[in-house]
């Protein structure tokens, strides 16, 4: 065991954490924004957007990864454009990990948030309007705290999913030790190579990390929910 630890390069931990956190933050805002926009849209439009925003979850991650690659690969127009004009490259880079994780986890944030928004009593929002609160203030001070349980659920799921993401990431960002290899990729690789104790080590690590993050998120959000609800 000791022996093994010495041979392990811990970069996947760092990369996983970075990826998980950054893509959770992006997913958080994007998902909330999407949910907010969809709430303001007609019923038909709602249905269309809803279906589209749920897609990345329906497709096997590898397919999503493949489609992302088709979009961003340096052979394709968008990828070329981004690379040659703005020097932005997602293929085989860490930002690629983030993009992949974001796309895969986005539906979770979006749907959770929307469900939370739908459960909010409209009267309270109207009250905020008649009190002259500007829309952004209503959103952050009134709507968000009331939607806190759903938002928390979405955030945790998003984080969990993006930490565990393997298929799309390996497609888009590749699996480069020290650059794009996340814990999930390391686990996949190690177990594909039959090195179960190394894989096991990473599994345990990922679990610990997730426990910590989930606990932190729970703590943070409990500040926003008035009284911890418990049914008797």
């Amino acid at each position: 065991m000791d022996e093994m630890l010495k041979t392990i390069d811990f970069s996947p931990l760092i990369i996983s954490l970075k990826t998980g956190i950054v893509s959770t933050i992006i997913g958080f805002f994007l998902g909330i924004y999407a949910a907010y926009s969809v709430m303001k849209v007609s019923k038909r439009m709602k249905w269309v957007l809803d279906s589209i925003f749920t897609l990345p979850l329906v497709l096997p991650p590898t397919v999503s990864g493949f489609l992302l690659l088709m979009l961003f690969s340096l052979k394709r127009p968008l990828g070329k454009l981004l690379y040659f004009n703005f020097n932005i490259k997602f293929v085989q880079t860490w930002p690629g990990c983030v993009i992949a994780a974001c796309v895969i986890a986005f539906p979770l944030m979006y749907r959770n948030t929307r469900a939370a928004f739908e459960q909010i009593d409209l009267t309270i929002i109207y009250a905020a309007r008649t009190l002259g609160m500007p829309d952004f203030k209503i959103f952050w001070k009134v709507i968000m705290p009331m939607a806190a349980p759903g938002i928390l659920s979405g955030t945790i799921l998003t984080f969990a999913r993006s930490i565990g993401e393997y298929g799309a990431t390996s497609m888009l960002a590749g699996n480069i030790l020290g650059k794009t290899q996340t814990i999930a990729l390391a686990i996949a690789l190690e177990s594909a190579s039959g090195r179960y104790n190394k894989a096991g080590f990473w599994v345990i690590l990922i679990l610990i990390v997730s426990f910590i993050i989930i606990t932190v998120l729970n703590k943070v959000s409990s500040r926003y929910s008035v009284v911890g609800k418990r049914w008797r």
Binding site: I124, M133, V227
Partner: protein, 350 residues
Amino acid sequence: MIVLEVDIKKKMGSFNLKVSFQSTCKCMGILGASGSGKSMILKCIAGIVEPDEGRIVLNGEVFFDSNDKINKSPQNRKVGYLFQNYALFPTMTVLENIKTGIKGNKEYKRELVKEQVRLFHLEGLEKRYPEQLSGGQQQRVALARIMAYRPQIIMLDEPFSAIDSFLKDILHKELLEILKNFNGNSILVSHSRDEVFKFCNSLTIMDEGRITVCGRTKDLFNNPLRVNAAKVTGCKNISKIRKVNNYELEALEWGVLLKTNQVITEKITHVGIRARHLLTVDQKKENTMKVDFLHYAESPFDVQYMFRNSMNDLTKEIWWITSKKQFHTILQDIPKYIQFPAERLMLLES
């Protein structure tokens, strides 16, 4: 002089609201049966419900105009609307709730909030969340929140329904003070006649989404003009009539002929008399009726008696209310005759 003009139509399922009024008075009262559309009017003015068509103008500022496609957002109307169910922010403390509407620097906010807390007797509850408050406390927080907002127009939807009578007296006084210093309109929806009478110079009476009467409060209490207005201003005795001649009618549901002081026009379909305005007499005179006593109910200072025409069992009950002072034991001296003083009869259109 601040003017509020409302002329709107709104259909909500099977309910049709169609009202039009102008108010220049400092505090307009709205009375109406439950479900007659009072809250709906306030919601339209506040911008929460969008009318199907019409116009709402406050002091020259167009809030809503279906022709010009103007529909100001509630934020830009600066209307203080006290929701019937308070609509407090459940995730904010009392202090934060009151603070939401205030514009200004920190110091000013703090001062204003403190003042409101004092004014509405909320000391000690500042850090509580709405669900940790009693019903009356919630209502006071909602009131404080509106008042701190310093709106152009104050609309109160049954502002004291959950507050005990002692505190209510105090708050009445304070609110009268506030409204006196407030240079804007206000609208009060209330089921309490006393409250309307105290606060409102002018009164609008609603029935099933329409305004039936509109006028000075005192005038309307004296002469409600319409059956529905008589009812909501608290007239307990109303009967259909048959006109006999210009100054005489038959109250069909009471089974009695009555002389009136006013001319009975063709439009008049009902006659009403307030329970307190009936007189009791010992013998048959003009406008009297021999009655049987049915039962009575007591309130701290009054007794309500219920009678029926002793000649006709099929007639409606008649209420008589009298101050208690005059009786020590209630069931002594039950009157045999009651009199409908001609000057108190209210001739009503339906």
